[in-house]
Symmetry: C3
Subunit: 397 residues, 3 copies
Amino acid sequence: MENTKALIQQLKSLDCSKMFNDDFLLTWEKNDDEIRATFAVADILRGLREKNISSRIFDSGLAISLFRDNSTRTRFSFASAANLLGLEVQDFEEGKSQVAHGETVRETANMISFMADVVGIRDDMYIGKGNAYMREFSQYVKEGNEEGVLEQRPTLVNLQCDIDHPTQSMSDMLHIINHFGGVDKLKGKKIAMTWAYSPSYGKPLSVPQGVIGLMTRFGMDVVLAHPKGYEVLPEVEAGAAKNAAAAGGKFSKTNSMAEAFVDADIVYPKSWAPFAAMEKRTNLYGEGDTDGIKALEKVLLAQNAEHTDWECTEDLMKTTKDGKALYMHCLPADITGVSCKKGEVEASVFDRYRVPLYKEASYKPYIIAAMIFLSKVKNPAAVLEDMLNKKPLRFLG
Amino acid sequence: MENTKALIQQLKSLDCSKMFNDDFLLTWEKNDDEIRATFAVADILRGLREKNISSRIFDSGLAISLFRDNSTRTRFSFASAANLLGLEVQDFEEGKSQVAHGETVRETANMISFMADVVGIRDDMYIGKGNAYMREFSQYVKEGNEEGVLEQRPTLVNLQCDIDHPTQSMSDMLHIINHFGGVDKLKGKKIAMTWAYSPSYGKPLSVPQGVIGLMTRFGMDVVLAHPKGYEVLPEVEAGAAKNAAAAGGKFSKTNSMAEAFVDADIVYPKSWAPFAAMEKRTNLYGEGDTDGIKALEKVLLAQNAEHTDWECTEDLMKTTKDGKALYMHCLPADITGVSCKKGEVEASVFDRYRVPLYKEASYKPYIIAAMIFLSKVKNPAAVLEDMLNKKPLRFLG
Amino acid sequence: MENTKALIQQLKSLDCSKMFNDDFLLTWEKNDDEIRATFAVADILRGLREKNISSRIFDSGLAISLFRDNSTRTRFSFASAANLLGLEVQDFEEGKSQVAHGETVRETANMISFMADVVGIRDDMYIGKGNAYMREFSQYVKEGNEEGVLEQRPTLVNLQCDIDHPTQSMSDMLHIINHFGGVDKLKGKKIAMTWAYSPSYGKPLSVPQGVIGLMTRFGMDVVLAHPKGYEVLPEVEAGAAKNAAAAGGKFSKTNSMAEAFVDADIVYPKSWAPFAAMEKRTNLYGEGDTDGIKALEKVLLAQNAEHTDWECTEDLMKTTKDGKALYMHCLPADITGVSCKKGEVEASVFDRYRVPLYKEASYKPYIIAAMIFLSKVKNPAAVLEDMLNKKPLRFLG
């Protein structure tokens, strides 16, 4: 209770007024107050739920989800967040719709949004497309609201795009903050965001990009490691460097996993596809070149296979700070001998960190709920304080 | 606020008692008071929501949706309406069910309805089948309620059948009423419901039929235009003529789009399939004659192609009343140069009317909610008045 | 009202404390008080709903459904039960998830359960697998809760497995109790759970197993009848015999449908697959032996075809107690001349019992709601009494 009260006090000191009636698309579009407010609200909502206090702010309303890729945890996290606040999830499945019938994005966006308070979109497959689609969608519903078509502006939450995966990186970060006991404890901590081998290919870049784009803002020593040829988006790297400079931290790159691990406080070994290859794939899809796509797949798998030594092993873990770095992953991981012959991480390492990994994931529903809350509620601290005082029950058991 | 109050007063003067505990299947089964009550309640619910007043009347309960055809806006409109009133949507997907296992319609209807307050059905593909299916379903759940199987009678909303599309035509009509400033302003206004060319085929007849069946009831001059061979159901035409006579308006037919457009206050150019061809297709499906269906498709596309000049162009629009007729469409439209090479409407016409078109669509959730409301609430005016006085919040932000 | 009050008094006298925060997986894991409490709560919830009293205990929260087989009534019953108590259903569809991506059951179970209060699973296709999967899932979320990953323990409801179908058998039993006017009226009543011919194959064993495992606990004379070769799980039979002895009833077996029907008060003729064949099929699936599966299917259909005389006919019905035994079925039934040429039951028998059959099915939503209620609410009688006193409206119409 005391902790929740303190967080509400902290929230009062932060200026998050520009989040009201706005989207959450990229963490680097949010200033430090806004990022901290999101963490605070997420922890407050969690605290309220633990105390069986309902944080329902909607008596009715829809939360539209639009997934263009399979998903387990993000889908359920979005549904959980919407439900916590009182919104009913409606999946927009393009296959069941008349999109193919000749609807434009503008038309679809308005047609599904008449009673939508929030829209969550996952569109991470094509470089240059996903985030652009979200912005287009957002612009159309904003206009729809201004033109009197929509009674409210449905705000957007980026549930993963080609550039960023803010609900993931924010959950990861909140995990780190709570694990180490506060933002102020992170100064100088070394985190290694490193590529790892996977026998599958085409994994999105949004996780490493999201991580370096966000975690460079807290005075940490952020190292990005990958084999040559697995570069991420140059503008995201540039942003990371700028962030680090501003926050009094460091951002560096290496082509050695071993180097990145040395003395690291946190390691995040995870496979991704080279940005250039993903761009090529996007073009091949655009051209409908199936043979080209298959050929590219072969090339990428062969390229991956040259780096099977990029695995998070017990030996590597021993080289981290006191041999006890916090191991992180967005899940599901490719675990050697479990989900594949050879993968991103040794089974014994993964097993040892299973509980922290699950806790890392457990922040996502609250992070999403916080993003929605801050985009909808004009005086978030006041509304949360009111809940804490009135204590409406989530469950009367 | 004043407007909502006035509408509630108006509602008190209308006799809609027979709508209680009944279905909404065809607009022409409802008398004028009932139609007006539906419009009033739709506008009241919209007004309440705009004032952030919750119109939730259910604390729990299900709204079952049964779509036998793809749908975007009707699906989301039904979900929005149900949610607004406090019902949770459950999609009944025949593919995931045991219907193929030998269940009868009677059995299925009862088995999914134990806690269903409302059932929305879309079944528009086969002439002679869709509306009949709804009536069968309705009869079975009515009996189920009488026999003590179901604790309530789930009322039905026709979300489009082979005969009528009442949630569409009612939304269209409410759009017209509000656009022109009231029902009394419509006397003598000319509306052209006309066929238009589309490169696809087999579009349902329910929209033109719904429009001529409903809009002839308001003293307007309703013109139905289509090429020879694109006749709609004869009984619907007969009903339209009868309506016009009773309401002091006109119903006429022509085979010239140009003639229909002359001095029109409203134009509704939209493709549909010939009734006779749809009947033939229904039989071919019944016989499982795939070759026959393919052959018919070719014939129909060729037939359409003879009428590419049935397009809503800028030139045609100039011939309407002051060159400024209200352009309407149920969406999505086939827009020349946008969604197809040559279609129902010129892009510049469509673009000019984009905002009114979206507003036209925005009435559907409220029309559906009004239909549900009037079928469930015994004293609708009293309940709405109570909401307006007590002002329960939809959103406490 | 009086009846509901009396049931609440009865509930107070039953010790169902161990149901709190526990799963409902097999009826024979629950003691008599717990079974009776479930019936009582189901009838109380039904009584409250009939009186338009809301029994919503959750302001927010998810009910996860995981169906590995098609389902109509169980799917809708689960959705209805969840909705009645205030939970929103989220279907976990493995096809849309990343399960194939290498997630373990432990990981999936935790990842979808962050805000799940209850999880309903149907997994009835493979002998030795379904119930085991539920236990594994349950263990993982229990641990997740203990490890601080999940803020609550999501309790499980078995929506049909390879061993038992408790939501079905409990609904069947409550139907019998209410039909005959109370548990005390059942002493000595004869019920014939008998195999019947079906032209399809591979129907689950969980229904007959669930019925003999549960109904032997009420002092009835339970007869299990099937042709040789259609044996059910030996351990379930053993349990039934033990139950009957403890309850002062009888459990016997016969290979004659006619013998089972003689003087029966209740008959439950229903097809199922031989246990041994299902076990074989499970192994063939495990080995991916498609040819073997097809060959087995042929053998099983041929085996079934030797017993087309196992049909519930009017003539057989005449041999039951006063010719008026209560006919039961879990639905959908294979009805001769209706859903198949030759099936489990003559059409005239089925038709005569249609209303009681539908009522039998109507208990399922309340049985499931009772199972959830008792697993979540510490003092069920107190909470229900409070509802009955305060009378929150389910529907304010």
